[in-house]
C-alpha cells in the first residue's frame, strides 16, 4: 500500500482533527488475517529485543483472547530515532510507532506526523477502555501533548502507582567499600571517617570524598579516575548549580534564556572544568565517551563515583554484572550516593511517562480498537497477572486468595534465581507502561541474589520523602517551553542542543580556552529562537 503522506497541508490535518474514531471511519489500511482468522498486528517497540510474538504462549493467550496475531519486532536502542525515521521515510511503519518523544522533537516529529497524516488520532472518548483512560488521565502535561484537543498516541507511563514521581533517577553510585578502606587507613585522624551510614552527604562532604579518592588511589581498587559520567550527563557536578537540563530556562522575569549560558550554569560549568583540568578527577577519555563507556569504567574498578540514569532496570544491570566480582560486598560497591547542596537534592525533572506509542494513520479503526483493547487489558488486574506471573493453572495458581507459583512454570537456576522466560504479555504491556510499579511483587525482582530491589526501593522511599518535604530541587525545563511548538524552535532545538553539549565538552577539556570564547560559540540562532519563544510567552 502506497502512502501519500508528504506534502499534505494543515487543512487536511484540521479535517483529521475533528474526526473521531467512530465518526471518521477511514479505512485505507487493509486488514490482514492469519489462517485462523485472527487480525494480524505488526507491532514494534524498542524494548522487544529477542521478542517476535510468534513463539511464546503468553502472546498466544492474548492472540486468542482478542482475535489477533501479534507479529513483533524491535527498534535498535542505539539508533532508536533513526530506526523510526527510516521506517517512516521507507513507508514501512507497521501498525504502531514507538517513539522517544522528547521536547526537542515534539514539534519536529510528533506534530509534523500529525500534520502529514502519518499518525492516527486516538479516540477522544476512551470510556470503552477504562484502564487506559484512567492511566492517561494521570499522565503529566497530557494537555501539552494534545493537538487541537486531540491525542495522537499513548504516552507510556513509567509507574502506574507512583504517578506523582516527576523526577528522574539520575544519580551517583559510589564505591563505599573503597571509602571505608580510606577511613580505615585514617582512624582517629581529623575529618575522618568520611563514610556516612545512610550514604547521605552534603556537597562539601562530596567534594572531600572526591579529594580522598584522588589522594589514595592505591589500595582502594585500581581506579583511573575519581568521577565518571555517562556521556550525556557530563559534567554531572553542574547539576548542583544549573536550573535546566537542556537548552532553555527562565530568568527571574520569566523570560526564556539560554540554559547553557545562564549564570547558575556557568558556575557549575566552571566547577566541572576545574575537576577536569586542574584536579583531574575526570578521566581525560571522558571527552570521547561513547554510550556505556562510563559503566564500563565503573564495573572494571576504574572509577570511584559514577553518574547515570539508575532506573531500576539499569541499577539492577550494574549490580548483576558486578556481583560475580564483589559478591557480598555488592551493596557497598554500588551504594547510591545522595548529595545535597543547600539542603536540597538536585535531581533532573522527568515526566511520569517515557516515550509514546503512536498508531499508523492507515490502520483501520478495527485494528486500532483491537490494539487499544489489548492495552487496556494489559493494564487490568488480570492482564497484569498474566504479564507478571504467567498463565493461571500452568505458571501459578491462586490459593486462598494468594498467588502460588508452580515449580514447572517458575524454575530456579543454580543461583536460586528464577530463570527468565519470554512473556509476550509483559513485553506488550510496555506499549503502555514501563511497569516500574510491578517491581515490588515481580518474582524475578524479589528472587534476586543481588537484592537490588531492597536497595533501590529504599532509595525511592528516601527520595519520595524528600520530595514531600520539598527537599528536591528540580532541574527541569519549564513545561510551557518544553512542549511549546514554534517553527524555529522545532527546527533548531535538536542541533542547538548537540552543539551546546559539544561546546561544554570542549570548554571543560580546554580546547575552548576561555569563558568568553565559550559564550561566543552560541550563534545568533539561539537569540532568534529565544525571541520566538519569548514572543509566544507574551514578552
Amino acid at each position: 500500500m502506497k502512502k501519500t503522506k508528504f506534502g499534505l497541508g494543515l487543512c487536511t490535518a484540521a479535517l483529521v482533527a475533528v474526526c473521531t474514531l467512530a465518526g471518521c471511519g477511514k479505512k485505507s489500511g487493509e486488514d490482514e488475517y492469519d489462517d485462523s482468522g485472527r487480525l494480524i498486528l505488526n507491532l514494534k517497540n524498542v524494548y522487544w529485543e529477542g521478542y517476535n510474538g510468534l513463539e511464546d504462549n503468553y502472546t498466544e493467550i492474548l492472540n486468542n483472547k482478542f482475535g489477533i496475531s501479534v507479529q513483533a519486532s524491535n527498534y535498535s536502542y542505539d539508533d532508536w530515532d533513526g530506526d523510526v525515521y527510516t521506517a517512516i521515510n521507507g513507508d514501512n511503519i507497521g501498525d504502531v510507532i514507538h517513539f522517544d518523544l522528547r521536547d526537542y522533537n515534539f514539534g519536529a516529529a510528533y506534530e509534523t506526523w500529525v500534520d502529514q497524516m502519518i499518525v492516527k488520532q486516538i479516540p477522544d472518548d476512551l470510556s470503552r477502555w477504562p484502564n487506559l483512560e484512567n492511566m492517561i488521565s494521570h499522565i503529566s502535561n497530557i494537555d501539552k501533548l494534545k493537538i487541537d484537543g486531540h491525542l495522537y498516541g499513548i504516552p507510556v507511563m513509567r509507574d502506574l502507582v507512583n504517578y506523582d514521581k516527576t523526577y528522574s533517577d539520575m544519580i551517583y553510585v559510589y564505591r563505599r567499600d573503597w571509602l571505608e578502606q580510606i577511613d580505615a587507613n585514617h582512624v582517629g585522624q581529623p575529618g575522618y571517617p568520611l563514610t556516612h551510614d545512610n550514604d547521605e552527604y552534603t556537597f562539601e562532604e562530596f567534594q572531600k570524598i572526591m579529594d580522598a579518592f584522588a589522594a589514595e588511589p592505591q589500595g582502594v581498587g585500581t581506579k583511573q579516575c575519581v568521577l565518571v559520567d555517562e556521556y550525556w550527563g557530563f559534567p554531572s557536578v553542574a547539576n548542583f548549580y544549573k536550573d535546566a537540563p537542556h537548552c532553555y530556562t527562565k530568568d527571574s522575569s520569566g523570560r526564556a534564556i539560554n540554559a547553557f549560558t545562564a549564570p547558575n550554569y556557568l558556575q557549575g560549568l566552571e566547577y566541572g572544568r576545574d575537576l577536569v583540568i586542574n584536579k583531574k578527577y575526570y578521566s581525560q577519555d571522558q571527552f570521547n565517551f561513547a554510550a556505556n563507556t562510563a559503566t564500563g569504567y565503573y564495573k572494571s574498578d576504574q572509577a570511584a563515583i559514577y553518574y547515570d540514569n539508575f532506573s531500576f532496570e539499569n541499577y539492577k544491570k550494574l549490580r548483576v554484572e558486578m556481583y560475580p566480582k564483589v559478591l557480598d560486598k555488592i551493596d557497598k560497591a554500588t551504594a547510591i550516593m545522595k548529595v545535597k547542596r543547600d539542603d536540597k537534592y538536585s535531581i533532573e525533572g522527568m515526566e511520569n511517562w517515557f516515550s509514546m506509542t503512536l498508531f499508523n494513520y492507515d490502520i483501520s479503526d478495527t485494528k486500532m480498537e483491537k490494539i487499544l483493547s489489548l492495552m487496556d487489558y494489559l493494564l487490568s488486574e488480570e492482564g497484569t497477572r498474566l504479564a507478571i506471573y504467567g498463565e493461571q493453572g500452568y505458571d501459578y495458581d491462586i490459593v486462598d486468595g494468594q498467588i502460588v507459583l508452580s515449580s514447572r512454570g517458575w524454575e530456579k537456576d543454580q543461583y536460586g534465581e528464577y530463570i527468565k522466560k519470554i512473556n509476550g504479555a509483559k513485553m506488550l504491556r510496555k506499549m503502555v507502561c514501563l511497569g516500574n510499579e510491578t517491581a515490588s511483587y515481580d518474582p524475578y525482582t524479589l528472587c534476586d541474589r543481588t537484592h537490588t530491589y531492597e536497595t533501590w526501593s529504599k532509595f525511592q522511599n528516601d527520595m519520595k520523602a524528600a520530595n514531600e518535604a520539598h527537599k528536591i530541587r528540580y532541574v527541569e525545563e519549564p513545561s510551557d517551553i518544553m512542549w511549546m511548538s514554534a517553527p524555529m524552535k522545532n527546527e533548531e532545538t535538536k542541533s542547538m542542543l548537540d552543539d551546546a553539549n559539544t561546546y561544554v565538552l570542549k570548554y571543560c577539556f580546554d580546547s575552548i580556552k576561555t569563558q568568553p570564547e565559550y559564550l561566543a560559540k552560541f550563534s545568533s540562532v539561539w537569540g532568534d529562537v529565544l525571541a520566538e519563544i519569548n514572543q509566544r510567552l507574551g514578552f
Partner: protein, 509 residues
Amino acid sequence: MKKGRKFLTLSMLTPCIIGVASCSKKGSLEELVFNKDNVVIEHFDGLGVEWGTYEAPDKLSSGSWERSLRIMDRLNPQVARVMLNYDWFITNADDHGDYDKDNDTWDYNFSNKLMDNTIDILRYCDEHQIDVAFGCWNVPGHVEIDEYDMFTEVTSDIRWAKMTADILEYLVKVQGIRSIKYFVNSNEPNYTGLPGKSKNYNNTFAIWSKGVKNVRAALDARGLNKIGIVGGDTTNFEGTDEYFSGISQNAELRQAVGDYGFHVYAPNRMIDLGTLGPTIKGMYDKIKGYDGELGVSRRPHIWEAGLLDGKDPVADSNGYIMNFSYGLRMADYTIQSALAGVTSVVYWDFDDAMHFMYHDDGTMTSKGWGMFSSLGTDSAVKQKIRPWFHSSTLLTNLMRRGSKIIDSGFNDPSVEKNFRSLGVIGPDNSYAGVAAVNRGAKPVHRTFTIDQEFNDSGKTYVYLYNQDDLELGQDGFVKYNEVIDASLRKTIEIDVPGDTLLVLSSKEL
C-alpha cells in the same frame, strides 16, 4: 548425583498374562504396546548435535579437544550440523571497479586454524558415519560494513553460489570429506533483523529461493550433485510455514532442495503439555498435501532443537541449560517430534566454546547453550558435563539411523498430558527399546511391550534420567540403573518416577 530413591517395581508378568496382552495388541494408557500398526517412521535418520567450527580455537582450555572427542564418542550422534563463515577464508577480493558482480574475483586462504578445525570435525564425522549438514551462517561481510556488497541480494548474489561451490569442492575433492550430505543456504533466512545488526535484513523467501537454485546449479556443475540443500533452515513455525509452503508448491524449488529442514526453539509449556508434536504434525500434514515426497525423498529434519524459555537474547544463552529439567524437556521434545514424523533432530548445541556473541564494544562472550564448555576461561562448573548431555546420549544411542519409530497409540495430549512414549526397533531389527517421559510430579505405573520381532538379547537395560536416579559410570558418562533378565517382547512393568525420562533397551546403550 544424589542416589537413594527406590524407583522401580520391576517384574515380569506371567506368561499367561503376557498371552492376554499379546492377544489384545492395542494396549491401554497404562499398558503400552508397540506394534507394527503404529509405526510412524520406517527409517529414522538418527539424532545429533550442532558441532560448528570453533570460532576462537585459541580460547580452548588445554587438552579440551581430546576431551571433546571423548564426549562426542559417548554421545555417538548420527547427524551433525557444521557451520562456518566464508569470511574466514576469502582474500584478495576485487570488484574490478565496476558493478558487474560476475567478473569479481577473490582467492581463498584455507591455511588457518579455522579451516583446520573444520576439517578435524568433518573427518571425525567421516570416520563415525555422521551425516552432516554443512553451511555458512550468512553471506560474507562485516555486519556494519557490507564490504562485499552482498547484503542487498544476500544468498541470491551470484558470488554466493560460486563461493559455496568452491569451498565444498575444496572439502570434498581436495580434502576427501565424505560426510557432507546437505548444504545450509544461510542460517535462519526468515530471521531478517535490522540493518547494522543482521546481514539478512533484506532477505525474502524469493531471494533465498533464487539463491538455492543458483547453488544447486553451481554444485551440479562441479559434480557435487549428491549434496542436497536444506529446504528452509528456518526458525519458528510461522516463518517455517512460509518457506515450506513456498518450497512444496514450486516444482523447480522442490527439486532443488534435499529436505525440509527447520529449527524449533519450543516454549516449555508447549513441551510440557504435549502440544509440540501435534503442532509439528499439523504443519507436516499440510505440506504433505502439496508434496507427497515429504518424508520419502525429502525428509523432515530439525536442524536446531532447543528450548525457547530461558533464552537470554543479549547473551544468546539459555538459563535452563544447567538444570535437569532441560534434559527432560529435550527428551520430551525429541519424542514428540519423532511421533510427529520428524526423522532427525539436531540438538543446539555441543560445546559452549564453539560460538560467540560479538558486542559493539569489541568484546565477545560465548553462547551458553552447550552440553558442556571447553573454554579455558570458564569456571569448573561450566566446564562440567551438563545433565542434558546424558539424557541426549540415551536417545542418540537408542534412536539410530534406520530404526523404526513406533507410537504406542496413547500419546494424545488431550487424553494423557503427562506421559509420552515411543518404541524403537533398531536397524535390521538388531535391537528394540522404549523411550518414555513422565512429566507429572508423581510416579506412574506402566507396562511396556514391544510386539514386533527383533534380535532379542533376553535382557532389558533400564535407564532413568532424573535428579535423583541418574546413574553415571566411573568414566562420568551415563550407565544403566539396572538390567532385567527379561525381554521387551514380553511385558516390563515399571513404576516410573515423576519428572523422569525412562529408556529401556535390549542392548546396552
